[in-house]
């Protein structure tokens, strides 16, 4: 098991290098640079700045320099916010983004699993129809519509919940739901489908033949196999949570990493954008690894290690 994880971690290194190289190249071949927008900067100062940040060297040399400082844990200085390091931005934003993602993930798992189980247990009856209709709607209402609507209802009209910032648990409710609902919908559909698939299996009949209660049949014999599709889905879902958080953080004015990334890309703040790509991509790759390990733990037929 440990060896499997270590081997997979080693496998992530080249993937990470490719991601960084592509992002680095994309930014550098684009016209413009971090010090171009401000017309006030005179050419001499600009040349000095370029030299200080080693932007005058050939690209491969710069890329190697970047990798070198990453190895030392230094994400470099921000070009657009003088005196502040990328590490600072990420230390401030990343925990908030992760919190938001976790709230959304927990919400989507709770709601999605419950709805999916209800749908499978009462297949083709009203709880099923209700849950699946809700799921289709959940899939079709994008978070950037849901967020403003929720604000309109809960903050503007009824003044029940705050519409912005990230200070207490009340602040987490609306953004969490906004970000998580789509995944709740997908998880509900996957859970229902997975359970119905397993319920038809012979071993579920065996469990009933042993005189187990329906509750035991469901929770001990059916659920584990039934949620496997959900576990598989969690990998892509993590990626989606990150993407979605770009929007949700903007809607609810949450001080996460999302806004930095878009602005950094627009402003050619190379170090900051690359730093965000590094952290987010790294987190995603590791999350996918965790999902694979969990899958292996749930399904004894899958050999892990």
């Amino acid at each position: 098991m440990i060896r499997f994880i270590l081997r997979r971690l080693m496998g992530l290194v080249p993937v990470m290098l490719i991601i960084l190289a592509v992002a680095f190249t994309l930014m550098r071949v684009a016209p413009g640079g971090p010090f171009d927008q401000d017309k006030a900067v005179d050419p001499q100062v600009k040349a000095q700045l370029m030299a200080r940040y080693q932007l005058d060297k050939p690209l491969p040399v710069q890329f190697l320099a970047v990798l070198g400082s990453y190895l030392r844990g230094d994400l470099g200085p921000s070009y657009r916010y003088p005196g502040r390091s990328v590490n600072e931005f990420i230390a401030a934003g990343f925990p908030v983004s992760v919190q938001l993602g976790l709230v959304a993930l927990v919400f989507s798992l709770l709601v999605g699993l419950a709805a999916g189980i209800a749908g499978a247990v009462w297949q083709n009856r009203w709880p099923d129809h209700t849950a699946m209709a809700m799921a289709l709607i959940g899939i079709s209402v994008p978070n950037f519509i849901l967020g403003p609507l929720l604000i309109l209802i809960f903050s503007v009209t009824f003044a029940l919940l705050p519409a912005a910032r990230w200070d207490s648990w009340q602040h987490m409710l609306l953004p969490g739901v906004t970000l998580g609902l789509v995944y709740a919908a997908y998880i509900a559909r996957l859970t229902r489908g997975g359970l119905l698939e397993v319920i038809r299996q012979d071993f579920v009949r065996t469990a009933r033949a042993k005189g187990l209660s329906e509750r035991l049949v469901l929770f001990r014999h059916t659920l584990r196999g039934g949620v496997l599709p959900v576990v598989t889905f969690l990998g892509p879902a993590m990626a989606g949570l990150f993407t979605g958080s770009l929007v949700v953080e903007r809607i609810f004015n949450i001080p996460g990493m999302g806004p930095y990334f878009v602005d950094a890309a627009l402003n050619r703040d190379y170090t900051l954008a690359l730093g965000v790509v590094l952290v987010d991509a790294g987190f995603l790759l590791i999350a996918n690894l965790v999902v694979d390990v969990v899958y292996g733990l749930l399904d004894p037929r899958v050999k892990v290690g």
């Binding site: 289709l136 994008p142 519509i145 990150f242 878009v262 890309a265």
Partner: protein, 303 residues
Amino acid sequence: MNAPAEQLAPVLEPAPGEPEAAGQSLWQDAWRRLRKNRAAVAAGLTLLAIILFCVVGPWLSPWRFDVPDLEYGPQGPSLRHWFGTDALGRDLMVRCMMGGRLSLLIGLAATVVSLSIGVTVGAVSGYFGGRVDALLMRLVDVLYTMPFIFFAILLLAIFGRSLVVVFVALGAVTWLTMARIVRGQVLSLRNAEFVQAARTMGVSHLGIIFRHLIPNTLGPTIVYATLTVPAVMLQEAFLSFLGLGIAAPDASWGLLVSDGAANMTFLPHELIFPALLLSITLLCLNFLGDGLRDALDPRMRFD
């Protein structure tokens, strides 16, 4: 502009001159099952109505999408402006129609990009197998792990907000699953008798792939494409919302929703109308995709 629902009927006919393409009865069966699925039919008709509304509507409306009605100003719905006007006093209904044109166009165009790449890669990979297959699928695996939206954002931020970049960025993001599906299909077909026959008759590799194999993967391809359209529209809207998609005064539904969200406290209708149109369209496309999947093969799953 071609609409998915309008295309449906012709596409479901077997391609002429393809005797080994899935038999007539399969498509007829699927078509019959689809028509029996009331939700899918309702979704298709609604979609058709929305498409007509967006395509024909602007010609019938007295208002232009980029010219404000200065004497009316920003206000809610009325007989003069059925959807009301936006913050600058422009007729919201015409803006929604124009936005719909663009959103649907992007959805279709990016799906075509995604289809072309995905089907080609998948078919080549599945047909040649061996080292080609291993290489291409390894590539797909690596690309799967990439946070693509970052690259899309980087592309748009760096090369500017042009429609072409949006197509390419979105198409490039969505072809991976398509490639896997087609590869699986081709893999199971490549040793079928009709392929062997074509091979012994000296048909070239490309000829076999494009004339014989790809037509036989149409079923899953159509279904997945139907589900790709809403996914792409969603992505476009999402990019527009972040201020990276279409630029004003042009409009897409995503941009309209974004504007509406900004003004929702005093002009809630500006959020609600484009949000409704976008959501209903996505809902219909999803229903239609589900219906097509059930009609073509109840066992097929893309989850």
